[in-house]
């Protein structure tokens, strides 16, 4: 198996328009904005962590503007790292998203309904794969495209398959993209499930009261060739990974922790590591009691002594299908800068009600092996082991 290098990356979240801006902002979780959404004669106001410097305007074009900038930046960095134009034309695209271009088709449908009550829904775009095709054409990518739609693990699963194809020799380069932008279906759907928090997400905290949706877009270029010079993610690579189905419930992992433990153990085995060798854990941490209980029970079964534990959703919100890649880039970028992010006041030792507290402030972090966990609706659990050491 070949090495799969991370040679170009960029991310855009509420924290900022570049990976560096995001890393710099990992000290105090931002407060969500109250945004207005209009549909079918109704207006609702909900909390949302909206992309920095990208107002909710011109929705039919906004998605593409965001994607072009983030992917363009990641491809530029990859080019500086040595990826040639010919290699770029053959690279594979691995898109992980929940809502894909739903924001665009919603805006179009709303616009058409204004003039014609007979307007047909889902006319412009009605396949998740259409967004991948759009991106391939825009960036001149002639390689294969795969669009993963497995709820909140989608871009983590996209990354797994991309790394596997590069390390097995099927592809020399892969572009992994995670994207999730504000849309009415997602917002009203989560509201209907009663899952919204009123302020910052507080996973594993006694005052947890649900999630805040976040917008995010990330891109990562993976290469079989070592970069000419060390980039933003240094020597980070995916050392092991696992994805398993959990049939306990459509909307929650098994609260006994067994299925969460199974996917963590399989990822460790594939990485050739013992739990005791990990330097930190990034939790999924959606701040619903169900998730927190399952996740905590799973961690306790796998780890005799837990390493420092962090959560990133308080910073960027739940970016759903994109959270895999968004949180991976934030975590690896921070680790590369030498620290583990903390969430001040959230699940501190006094406030953690499940017996495990979250790291509270920036903690120095040496190169090592780290576990990043993601769990999705429809019983989809993924555990990734990232390393920036041998």
């Amino acid at each position: 198996m070949r090495e799969a290098w991370f040679i170009g990356a960029d991310t855009h979240t509420v924290l900022g328009r570049s990976l560096a801006d995001n890393i710099a902002a990992l000290s105090t979780p931002p407060a969500p904005q109250q945004i207005e959404l209009r549909f079918g004669g109704q207006t609702i106001v909900i909390p949302y962590l909206i992309l920095a410097d990208q107002p909710l305007e011109d929705i039919e074009r906004r998605l593409y503007q965001v994607l072009y900038a983030v992917i363009g930046q990641a491809l530029d960095e990859a080019a500086k790292s040595g990826m040639t134009a010919a290699q770029r034309r053959r690279m594979g695209l691995f898109l992980g998203t929940s809502s894909a271009d739903v924001s665009v088709s919603e805006a179009r449908f709303l616009r058409e309904l204004e003039t014609s009550p007979d307007a047909t829904a889902l006319i412009g775009s009605n396949s998740i794969s259409n967004l991948a095709r759009h991106l391939r054409h825009h960036f001149g990518l002639g390689g294969p495209d795969y669009s993963f739609n497995t709820a909140c693990t989608a871009s983590a699963n996209a990354l797994m398959s991309a790394v596997d194809m590069v390390s097995s020799g099927d592809l020399d380069h892969a572009l992994v993209v995670g994207v999730e932008l504000c849309n009415v279906i997602t917002a009203t759907g989560f509201q209907g499930l009663g899952l919204f928090a009123s302020q910052t997400m507080q996973p594993f905290d006694q005052d947890r009261n649900g999630l805040i949706l976040g917008e995010g877009c990330s891109a990562l270029v993976i290469s079989a060739s070592a970069p000419k010079a060390e980039g933003q993610l240094g020597r980070f690579h995916l050392r092991g990974s696992a994805n398993l189905c959990d049939t306990y419930s459509m909307s929650a992992a098994n609260p006994d922790g067994s299925t969460v433990a199974a996917v963590m153990n399989q990822a460790l085995a594939r990485a050739g590591l013992e739990a005791s060798q990990l330097g930190a854990i990034k939790t999924h941490g959606t701040a619903s009691l169900h998730n927190d209980e399952s996740e905590m029970a799973g961690m306790r079964q796998v780890f005799d002594t837990l390493p420092p534990v962090c959560a990133l959703k308080p910073y960027i919100g739940h970016t759903l299908g994109a959270c895999g890649l968004n949180e991976l880039l934030l975590f690896c970028g921070a680790a590369q800068a030498g620290f583990l992010p903390g969430t001040p006041g959230i699940a501190s030792p006094e406030r953690a009600d499940l017996g495990v507290s979250l790291n509270q402030s920036r903690l120095p972090l040496a190169p090592g092996h780290f576990m990043l966990n993601f769990f999705g609706f429809g019983g989809n659990n993924t555990s990734l082991i990232l390393s920036n050491t041998e």
Partner: protein, 298 residues
């Protein structure tokens, strides 16, 4: 890698009254399943027919491909939301995640293996099979239930508009499944999937086919629903293989019709090897599925 079982559902839809599937689910699985729409019903019918009475190992993975995904549940949410301001019903909203289908399949068969959903407009079934084979090769699993599903939405007029098909073009829906295993050839294997691979362009595909040096009588060259006549003619000239033309209008258009190719090949007596060739209509890529029949002395 070996195919131990196959199962299909495909049917033309020619009225706005879409076929009721509840009873077929019950027949295929031996029990009713509630809280699911037509997309998941189609998947369960195909997977249930594939496995019949057989059990699957608990670590079996489920890989599902689709050209469009569950348009039905999306419309069930979108229309009331934007026309009348009604929020998504919880049970509909949770089923808008595409892997909800995998959940119901894994639950029915008692599976705890990997679960993946991949969308690709032109190679939906092929992409699922390609990723499943990669996982077997890399040792993630040695047993995968692989399938594809695409459905028809009402009205047919709107469905054709969404799919950019001409008025009156026949439309269909289909669910195609196979049980794929790695390792040594099992006694009950019906076919070997020798290769599923995408090629950058026709030239690369021709190079591969030429090197195979296959006999024309023993091979079934089956053009997929997206491949153009000129490319097939060129393949014929270069390799000497003669294309088998199934009626392209039967049972009607759906993206992942390639999912039915392996069954179609195995259900008739001719040929040792299936070469199913598809292409993307807005790009240069081709996809080949190469499957060898395993004949049994009866």
């Amino acid at each position: 890698m070996w195919i131990r079982a196959l199962g299909d559902y495909s049917d033309t839809v020619d009225t706005d009254e879409l076929p009721a599937l509840r009873q077929l689910v019950r027949e295929a699985l031996g029990a009713p399943v509630r809280r699911i729409g037509r997309f998941i019903q189609l998947a369960l019918i195909g997977a249930g027919r594939c496995m019949g009475e057989q059990a699957l190992p608990a670590q079996t993975a489920v890989y599902l491909g689709s050209g469009r995904g569950d348009l039905d549940v999306t419309l069930e949410v979108v229309n009331p939301l934007f026309r009348e301001g009604l929020p998504p019903k919880p049970l509909s909203f949770v089923n808008t995640v595409s892997n909800a289908t995998n959940f119901y399949i894994a639950k029915h068969f008692g599976l705890a293996g990997r679960s993946n959903f991949v969308c690709n407009r032109f190679f939906a079934f092929e992409a699922a099979l390609e990723l499943a084979m990669q996982d077997i090769r890399l040792g993630y699993t040695d047993s995968v239930l692989v399938g594809s599903v695409d459905l028809v939405t009402a009205s047919l007029h709107q469905h054709r508009a969404r799919l950019e098909l001409p008025p009156e073009h026949p439309v269909a829906e289909g669910s195609h499944w196979l049980w794929l295993v790695g390792g040594a050839q099992p006694e009950d294997a019906v076919a070997e999937v020798q290769l599923v691979r995408q090629f950058d362009d026709l030239r690369a595909l021709l190079g591969h086919l030429h090197a195979l040096n296959l006999s024309s009588e023993r091979s079934w060259l089956l053009p997929g629903n997206f491949v153009d006549a000129a490319s097939i003619a060129e393949i014929q000239t270069t390799t000497g293989l003669t294309p088998v033309h199934l009626d392209a209008r039967e049972p009607g258009y759906y993206d992942s019709r390639a999912g039915g190719a392996i069954s179609a090949f195995l259900s008739q007596p001719d040929g040792d090897t299936l070469l199913h060739i598809n292409r993307e209509t807005d790009g240069e890529r081709f996809c080949l599925m190469q499957v060898r029949r395993i004949s049994r002395v009866s």
